[in-house]
Symmetry: C2
Subunit: 144 residues, 2 copies
């Protein structure tokens, strides 16, 4: 008896457009981020650092949903580029503190027009964007 399995059709998945949209959007960032010598993952790490100035790898990982397996090489590369420094906490030697450098701060100005350039790529109305944002955070917070 041949079954149809509609639940296994690609077009009936919610995960697939999520996966595909994320990938395509990140790809869109590339030319803009190339100009400021950042990858997408480095870019979101810099967003945290522009706000926080200094925090532990663990704290950064919680904000970005990334672990040390991803962050250790990422932060070493960003240190090489001069955007951050890495040093152990004196209070607790297990903790590695990542801090923004003046070069990292300076990058903020150059990055300031990236969000606007990206917004023009994603042609959603303001309402749609707000709705999408809200649904995505619902997914993130629910998937516990």
């Amino acid at each position: 008896m041949e079954r149809d399995y509609p639940e296994l059709k690609l077009e009936n998945q919610l995960c697939f457009p999520l996966y595909a949209a994320a990938k395509e959007i990140v790809k869109k960032y590339r030319p803009y981020l190339d100009e400021i010598n950042l990858t997408y993952t480095q870019y979101i790490a810099m967003m945290v650092l522009w706000e926080e100035k200094s925090l532990s790898v663990k704290a950064l990982g919680e904000k970005l949903f990334l672990d040390s397996g991803t962050l250790t090489p990422l932060l070493k590369s960003m240190e090489q580029k001069g955007f951050v420094t890495r040093h152990r906490s004196e209070a607790d030697e297990r903790v590695l503190i990542v801090s923004i450098t003046p070069e990292g701060e300076a990058l903020r100005k150059k990055a300031a027009d990236v969000p606007a350039k990206m917004q023009s790529c994603v042609r959603l109305t303001k309402e749609e964007a707000v709705q999408l944002y809200s649904l995505l955070y619902k997914v993130i917070n629910d998937v516990g």
Copy 2:
């Protein structure tokens, strides 16, 4: 003069929850897919193959938004596992045809309960899921 740069705050980005949600969802699949010896990318490739039975690498790539750099090693691995075969088209030797095997077909039955298991992880209402689906495809189709 110190600026605030709200447009560069992580919580004001649309791309970040998209990136994070996609990552978290794919991670959620892992235990279920481990049981049927597939990775997430292999799983979506199988979804296409369960429908199409046979198609070119190019056609598969267009459906999945993936190129040969990703698909070539992926399909070799799936061939190793016995789920697909790979052979050149006789009409056009440039084209590599991927075809599902009986083992690949048999996997469909085992995969049939994966979508239901995942749906219980993502606690959106039916209406929210429909809305999210629609917005995501809008993003995918717009990002040209």
